[in-house]
């Protein structure tokens, strides 16, 4: 059964008997008042009988409290038959003495009244049934039928009052059902007698789709939810769905999970979404919302985590086929049991039914990721505010379970500020916007992050491309002509590479020229060196010659001097 976490949160001011009806015990803070009668009223077909039978059956099977059903309308066999479809085996329970069904038949035609009487017979029957199995729970369905069978209203009313008092004395928790009357809760004003707890069941049809609603009108001595809570009847009985959880409490995870697209993870601060967060992908038609969702599902399954994909537009096989074309093989995940795809037209049933179906599947499969594609289609079965309430409850529920949820939403409006998308934008943690960017005669996809709570995220518009290999995000080209995308971006990139090639070519040309110039210069330098050397040589030669000349002249002078002196003497001799 569902967690009864709220049960402990609310102080038990009054002993209560859990009904076992999923959701109801949360609203009532633990169940119906123990040992007291409660009134369940509603129109025909609002589910009163089923409600009460479920109370008895759950009591007998789950809480070990035997119960007595005293029916004034249907025969025991009819009753057994009617609830078999809900998986309640009343026959077996009766054999095991866990429950007892007593059909009280009143036929006005065979009854004559004369003089004073009381309803001791009913008391005795009920008392006998209670005592024979030690019942703790009693259902009287619908006791108002007594009014049709008996004439003396004075006696009846007095006896009913006595009956409810007697039930209290017996210490059994009782449910009394009553048909809704005009201007009052029940036709015979039973609410006057049973005043501890009154629950009203309603059944409304709007837009040809019916919604069952439950409201606790009164619960003496106890806190209780006061809203109208939608509930459903399906193969597991009744489930009541609290419109919102009473408190905003949930597990908050700091762990991040990849979106399956590395470039998107980068935009989201490098690692992706927080686990347990809610993600909205909105965009106009054909912008790749489903592909994004499928990539996320794929990434979840690749992490060996489970994922449920609720598709409101396409059947599962179509999704699988379509995604194969962009390189995502969901079939392997389906086969390995990591992925479930559930497809249903939104018009199949009301929002509440959808919500309950999602609840149930999520509870059963325990996924880490849930995908709803697209939520906008749900508007066909409810008003915007209903869808919003649906999503609030869904997000509350999933966040409570720490499940990451991704919605896709189709926006018809291309003006960003007006795209409130069923007003979920304030509920979600991450909002990705995928949109068409039309320019130069082509349509391209652009993506940006509208918001992402609690993480640094890119403010850039990225071009979102879908190829055979998958999805990718590329930086848009910011050139002199503005933001370029698609072919224009490609062209720009191409022209850039051409330019680069040309530039490198030119560069090498210049290099060669420089090389050559250098060689020329070097040659020149060497020739100059030569010249310099020869000049130097020449200069040196002059010096040497000069020195030689000087030396020789010195020698000559010396020789001359010598000669002169010797000549003088010679001359003398000769003389």
């Amino acid at each position: 059964m569902p967690s009864k976490s709220n049960k402990t949160a609310l102080k038990a001011s009054l002993p209560k008997t859990p009904t076992g009806i999923s959701g109801l015990d949360e609203i009532t803070g633990g169940g119906l008042p123990k040992g007291r009668p409660s009134l369940i009223c509603g129109e025909a077909g609002s589910g009163k009988t089923l409600f009460s039978i479920e109370f008895i059956v759950r009591g007998a099977t789950e809480f070990g409290e035997p119960g007595v059903i005293m029916t004034f309308e249907e025969k025991a066999e009819e009753l057994e038959m009617n609830v078999t479809s809900l998986g309640f085996d009343l026959k077996k329970l009766q054999k095991e003495s866990k429950i007892r069904i007593d059909h009280v038949h009143i036929d006005r035609t065979e009854i004559e009244e004369t003089g004073e009487y009381d309803l001791d017979g009913l008391f005795i029957r009920l008392g006998y049934a209670i005592d024979s199995i030690g019942a703790k729970r009693v259902v009287l369905d619908t006791i108002e039928n007594l009014f049709a069978g008996l004439n003396n209203l004075g006696i009846l009313r007095a006896e009913l009052r006595r009956l409810f008092g007697w039930l209290k004395e017996k210490g059994v928790t009782a449910i009394i059902t009553g048909e809704k009357g005009e201007g009052s809760l029940t036709r015979q004003g039973l609410e006057e007698y049973v005043s501890d707890c009154v629950i009203l069941l309603d059944h409304r049809v709007a837009n040809k789709i019916s919604t069952r609603l439950l409201r606790i009108i009164k619960y003496r001595g106890s806190l209780h939810g006061t809203n109208e809570y939608p509930f459903l009847i399906d193969e597991d009985g009744i489930s009541v769905l609290p419109v919102t959880s009473l408190q905003l409490q949930g597990i908050v995870s700091t762990q991040k999970v990849s979106s399956g697209i590395p470039a998107l993870d980068n935009m989201l601060g490098g690692k992706g979404f927080y686990r347990g967060s809610s993600i909205l992908v909105s965009g106009t038609a054909g912008t790749g919302k489903t592909s994004l969702a499928a990539f996320f599902a794929n990434a979840t399954c690749l992490r060996k985590e489970r994922c449920i994909y609720f598709a409101f537009e396409e059947p599962p096989l179509q999704i699988v086929r379509n995604l194969q074309s962009i390189g995502v093989n969901l079939n392997t995940h389906i086969e390995s049991g990591l992925l479930q795809i559930h497809s249903a037209r939104p018009t199949l049933n009301g929002l509440e039914m959808h919500l309950a179906a999602i609840h149930k599947k999520v509870k059963a499969f325990k996924p880490r990721t849930v995908i709803l594609d697209p939520i906008t289609n749900l508007v066909t079965v409810g008003t915007v505010s209903e869808v919003k309430s649906f999503l609030i409850r869904l997000i509350d529920f999933l966040q409570g379970e720490n499940i990451t949820v991704l919605f896709t939403a189709l926006s018809l409006n291309t003006v960003v500020n007006e795209q409130t998308d069923e007003g979920v934008s304030s509920l979600v943690d991450v909002w990705l916007q995928v949109r068409d960017i039309e320019s130069n005669g082509e349509r391209n996809r652009g993506m940006y992050i509208m918001k992402s709570r609690g993480m640094k995220h890119s403010n850039q518009v990225r071009e979102f491309i879908i190829t055979d290999k998958g999805l990718d995000l590329v930086d848009v080209y910011l050139g002199q002509e503005g933001v370029l995308i698609g072919s224009a971006r490609e062209a720009q990139l191409l022209s850039e590479t051409t330019g680069a090639a040309l530039r490198t070519h030119a560069l090498t040309q210049k290099d060669k020229e420089i090389q050559r110039k250098r060689m020329v210069l070097e040659a020149k330098i060497s020739s100059l060196q030569e010249e310099f050397d020869s000049v130097q040589d020449q200069l040196n030669k002059v010096y040497v010659e000069e020195d030689l000349k000087k030396e020789i002249m010195e020698q000559n002078r010396k020789q001359l001097t010598q000669l002169r002196t010797s000549h003088n003497s010679d001359h003398g001799k000769r003389k």
Binding site: E116, G127, Y128
Partner: protein
């Protein structure tokens, strides 16, 4: 109803002979010795002695003693008089203080005093 009317017609013709063939099997459900129960028993006994001499069988069932019998005859009110035979089953609830009503209810033709 057809049968009853037939009976009536027959009793008109051969009164004493037919009356002996008719037989009333009555059950009176009570709960303890409440004034209502006691009144009902006394009233019924009086009517039977008056109108159904030797033509009836009366069983008084105290539901306080045998509560399991209450469901069988669909007893709600106390006291309840059930006419098992002749069929169809008729029930008269209350302390049976109104003789006329009881006799009409049980389809007993009163013996003229």
């Amino acid at each position: 109803m057809v049968k009853e009317s037939k009976v009536k017609k027959v009793t008109k013709g051969k009164k004493t002979a037919k009356m002996e063939e008719d037989f009333w099997e009555l059950r009176l459900y009570v709960a303890g010795n409440t004034p209502k129960s006691v009144a009902a028993i006394n009233n019924l006994k009086k009517y039977c002695a008056e109108h159904l001499v030797d033509k009836y069988k009366l069983e008084v069932i105290d539901l306080l003693v045998k509560p399991q019998l209450a469901a069988g005859d669909q007893i709600l009110a106390i006291p309840t008089l059930v006419r098992k035979v002749p069929v169809p089953i008729r029930k008269i609830i209350g302390d049976l203080s109104n003789e006329e009503k009881v006799l009409v209810g049980l389809n007993i033709r009163p013996v003229k005093k």
